[in-house]
């Protein structure tokens, strides 16, 4: 845990997932160490599980998309300290909507079976996307799925009619399907997927200076990864067996920019409204209370907006 304050070194347990390069680069290139952070990475299957581990004090820092972040802050004394700046148009354009060939426009989705991954923001995305195209959520059937291999097979067999996917591996796989084609991508919708970092308020109170360094380290690690894609691909293959081609293709779309932008804020607001409306979050709360932007402001003053 995070009590070792001695000599300015902060021990952190960080919840990570397999596909994210930033933490791993920061560890293996000594960037954390340089910033006085002694990091241990814990790999989870999904961000949601990593964030859940915060509750049982198994990790100190977790990272995840808006959906699980909001779910977590609604439950206790945790704060979002930064966004990773991935709520960009470029990133959003990597979220592709693949549909069966008989669907040529959004209007054709009416009455169809649409896939979503459980515990993610996809239902929200469907809600917004369909709403914009004049289709109510109750006019389609949403099918919850456990993994992308599942939606791939289901789409191929016609057991579902449309699914959102992300990442080069999936884009290639789904692109090769005879039975389906790409209809649109998320950049054409108002939805931007933010990801952020979450820690306990306790940790912020006791180690705010080191956390500032932590944020700086992350930014530096992401820059390093962007500059050295091959090395990053090697690190990921070695440590988590992510195929090299996948890393190389996805890396340019995922530069982290530690900060807190207007887009990030709007993403959270929209997402939160949806979650409250759909009773996914039972107890409403003030979003501002759960955002602690002092640290990131110290680290990168020009990348943080003022909250009204």
């Amino acid at each position: 845990s995070a009590d070792a304050k001695s000599e300015g070194t902060l021990k952190l347990k960080i919840a990570d997932i397999t596909t994210n390069p930033v933490f791993r680069v920061a560890v293996s290139k000594g960037i954390f160490k340089k910033h006085g952070i002694e990091a241990e990475l814990i790999t989870f299957a999904t961000p949601a599980e990593g964030i859940n581990s915060l509750f049982i004090k198994q990790v100190d820092v977790a990272y995840g998309a808006d959906f699980p972040l909001l779910n977590a802050v609604s439950k206790g004394n945790y704060s979002i300290i930064s966004s990773t700046g991935t709520a960009t148009d470029a990133n959003a354009s990597e979220w592709k909507l693949f549909v069966r060939n008989d669907i040529q426009s959004a209007a054709d989705l009416k009455g169809k079976k649409l896939s979503f991954s459980r515990g993610t923001f996809i239902p929200y995305l469907w809600d917004v996307y369909l709403g914009e195209n004049g289709i109510a959520l109750k006019d389609v059937e949403l099918i919850g799925q456990g993994g992308f291999d599942e939606s791939y097979v289901a789409l191929k067999k016609g057991e579902i009619d449309g699914t959102w996917i992300y990442g080069s591996v999936l884009k290639e796989k789904f692109g090769a399907l005879q039975e389906a084609h790409e209809l649109t991508d998320m950049s054409k919708t108002p939805v931007r997927l933010g990801t952020g970092l979450i820690v306990s308020d306790e940790l912020i109170d006791s180690n705010s200076d080191q956390l500032v360094e932590f944020l700086k380290a992350l930014d530096e690690a992401s820059e390093y990864a962007q500059a050295h894609p091959d090395e990053t691909a090697d690190i990921l293959f070695k440590e988590v067996k992510q195929p090299r081609e996948a890393t190389l293709k996805d890396l340019p779309n995922n530069p982290w920019s530690i900060g807190f932008t207007e887009k990030a804020y709007n993403g959270l607001v929209g997402q939160k409204k949806y979650m409250i409306d759909n009773k996914i979050i039972e107890q409403d709360f003030e979003l501002k209370d759960k955002l602690n932007l002092d640290l990131v402001r110290k680290a990168f003053p020009d990348r943080v907006i003022e909250l009204k």
């Binding site: 515990g119 993994g147 291999d149």
Partner: protein, 258 residues
């Protein structure tokens, strides 16, 4: 008589102590870590009120029963053939001893690909979980048929086919039954894996989905439902076996080895 009464008192006492301990531990560690009986009961009530837990139990039971009965029906002839035909056995035995270490859950992706995301793949996964146990038990049964039985049938003029139908199969019934009953346990174990595949309902779904929202109380409700379902069907199967297969020497056994 007085001993029997005493036994019940002690039993009640022990269960009482157990429940109290559970509650105390839960208070000590907090409901996040260990949902106590009261907290769990609340969670259960919540799921009971909107009828979902009962629906989930129904759906999961249906899947288990389908996969289990189909698996058993397929496995019995396969086991008989492997047991009877030496050359098939030589080929199949190492394979069986290899595949029995591979858990059903490892086949999720492949089954998806083969059987789609509908009920078929879920049932197929449970079928897989039960298949090999029933095959292995049937096979053991065939190999355990006393030579004297076969010999006496043969010297009374039975053909090889008659021996199979009238001697081997009935003599193997107790083994088949044991296999089927053991497989029942495994099929409940496989339901979580099966309901990881594209499902919005079922006890396995409840347990797995509750992880995402960290509802330990619902996980407990799911676990208890699973245990109860298993326990009750096991008793029912045991009872039916005792009644219907009485003449084949199927007797009750309370504690089964898995």
């Amino acid at each position: 008589m007085s001993f029997l009464r005493k036994k019940w008192v002690i039993l009640l006492l022990l269960w009482g102590v157990g429940l109290t301990l559970w509650q105390l531990l839960s208070l000590l560690y907090g409901p996040e870590v260990l949902p106590g009986p009261i907290y769990t009961a609340k969670g259960g009530l919540e799921l009971l009120e909107d009828g979902s837990i009962l629906r989930y139990i129904g759906i999961s039971s249906f899947r288990v029963l389908m996969g289990w009965s189909l698996g058993s029906l397929l496995a019995i002839p396969v086991g008989l053939i492997i047991g009877k035909v030496d050359i098939v056995r030589t080929f199949a035995e190492p394979f069986l001893n290899f595949i029995r270490f591979i858990p059903p859950i490892a086949f999720i992706t492949l089954f998806l690909v083969w059987f789609g995301i509908g009920e078929t793949s879920k049932i197929a996964l449970i079928l897989y979980a039960t298949f090999f146990i029933v095959v292995l038990n049937t096979l053991t049964g065939v190999l355990s048929v006393e030579e004297d039985k076969v010999r006496s049938a043969r010297s009374m003029g039975a053909s090889e086919w008659q021996i199979l139908v009238h001697v081997i199969v009935p003599a193997t019934v107790p083994y088949i039954f044991t296999g089927i009953r053991l497989a029942m346990g495994t099929s409940y174990m496989a339901i979580i894996g099966a309901e990881m595949i594209a499902s919005n309902e079922g006890v396995g779904y409840l347990i797995w989905n509750s992880r995402l929202f960290f509802r330990t109380d619902w996980i407990f409700v799911g676990l208890i439902s699973l245990g109860l379902m298993g326990f009750l069907t096991d008793r029912a199967v045991g009872f039916l076996g005792r009644k219907l297969l009485f003449r084949y020497g199927v007797v009750s056994s309370t504690s089964l080895r898995r």
